[in-house]
């Protein structure tokens, strides 16, 4: 009888593993009780617990989490599959009805580059690591995972947790920044919306193809990211692949999200995660969202200098990728200021532009730093 085997786990247990199990429990609590990105934070939290149990058979050479990591994260397969699913879910028509919103989708990517600069200025991180931290500002989980895995796989755990946590916290992070940068008069600005505007089916079909080709020619390294997203969208808009479109939106999205989350959790190994750099990453990640919001709002204020018919600068804050939370935040503040001011349509357009902007910014970062 090998009774000692039963005690091996207890004997190998370290306080660091205990802390990480607590971190996992906190993530599960946030997912269930606060409903913060539950589909990601719950599997990530449980993955963190599984990987920090001493001598865990879930990790290691033959552990299922290691096998999933090697197959789905190291190869970038899971983020790519998520992009196909997300592409199938995105309706670009609010953006195509008001393509000027694309500019806000560009301005709100400031957070990525500003956070990268901040991370680089600390002297703690290499340029690639700084870029991986900056990409938290994409407010787009799969893009963060894709870039971090290429540039700084050791930082994948804290970067993913920061990206998904702050996306869930957009309703808390954005309002104070928006209020600090706008006057009441600006927040009261009304914007005309053409609710009857239509987009040709041909444009909806051609848009994902054109975007893929143009983005691919400019930054070939972005083809994986942009191509997968736009492929999913083409399936949706083609009108002849309804069954596959629904599969991408449901089964593919659900299954990949499940596996992605628990696999990301498995990267939260105590020795790597419990480091001062993790706190630094979480702090810079938060600032990335603040810079994103500020970039969008300030850009809107800037172009208002040249416009006769002013736009509500809060729209700029919706230019991040966190969809549709950001657009809802902007509409909520507008309604708080004036219960009859509806700017949701414009905010949704900017928010969809943010989804394109973040993926383009991710591709450009890969090209510039890679």
């Amino acid at each position: 009888m090998k009774v000692d085997k039963l005690l091996e786990g207890l004997q190998s247990f370290t306080w660091q593993q205990g802390v990480m199990i607590l971190v996992g429990l906190v993530l599960i609590y946030l997912a269930i009780k606060k409903e913060y990105e539950p589909m990601l934070l719950l599997p990530i939290g449980f993955g963190a617990i599984l990987t920090n149990i001493p001598l865990s058979s879930a990790v290691g050479e033959n552990g299922f989490l290691t096998i999933l990591y090697n197959a789905g994260i190291r190869t970038e397969l899971f983020p790519i599959l998520i992009f196909i699913a997300v592409g199938a879910m995105i309706d670009f028509s609010p953006l195509l009805k008001q393509p000027v919103m694309l500019f806000f989708g560009a301005a709100a990517q400031l957070g990525i580059f500003a956070a990268m600069l901040l991370a680089a200025s600390t002297g703690v991180f290499s340029l690639k690591e700084a870029a991986s931290i900056g990409i938290i500002g994409a407010a787009d989980g799969p893009t963060s995972i894709y870039v971090a895995n290429l540039f700084a796989p050791d930082l994948l755990g804290p970067i993913s947790v920061a990206a998904y946590s702050y996306m869930a916290l957009v309703p808390i992070i954005q309002p104070p920044v928006i209020r600090a940068l706008t006057t009441k008069k600006e927040r009261l600005i009304r914007m005309d919306a053409d609710y009857d505007a239509k987009v040709s089916k041909k444009v909806l079909i051609l848009f994902p193809i054109v975007v893929t080709v143009v983005a691919g020619i400019i930054a070939p390294i972005s083809v994986g990211l942009v191509g997968a997203l736009m492929f999913g969208n083409l399936i949706r808009e083609s009108g002849v692949m309804d069954r596959l479109s629904k599969s991408a939106q449901n089964e593919l999205a659900n299954l990949t999200t499940l596996l992605l989350g628990i696999t990301i959790g498995s990267t939260m190994v105590a020795e790597k995660f419990l480091a001062p750099t993790t706190l630094l990453i979480l702090a810079i990640g938060l600032l990335a969202f603040v810079f994103d919001t500020a970039g969008g709002v300030l850009f809107a204020k800037f172009i208002n200098l040249f416009l006769k018919k002013k736009i509500n600068p809060m729209i700029g804050a919706a230019g991040i990728s966190a969809f549709p939370m950001s657009a809802r935040v902007v509409q909520k503040i507008a309604l708080e200021e004036d219960p009859s001011n509806f700017i949701l349509m414009q905010a949704i357009g900017a928010n969809v532009a943010g989804q394109i902007g973040s993926i383009i910014a991710g591709g450009i970062l890969l090209a510039l730093v890679g």
């Binding site: 000027v100 143009v214 383009i360």
Partner: protein, 45 residues
């Protein structure tokens, strides 16, 4: 400012410039597509 930060500053400038340029290009392409393929309602009118 350390060397990495200087490089990051360069990436910030070039990166934001490129993101804006690409999205301006997309804007023009969308406008072009909408001119070539107006909504079906407009064709009927």
């Amino acid at each position: 400012m350390n060397q990495v930060a200087l490089e990051a500053l360069k990436v910030l400038g070039i990166g934001m410039g490129t993101v804006f340029s690409v999205l301006v290009l997309f804007y023009l392409l969308v406008k072009g597509l909408q001119t070539i393929f107006p909504p079906e309602d407009e064709i009927q009118k």
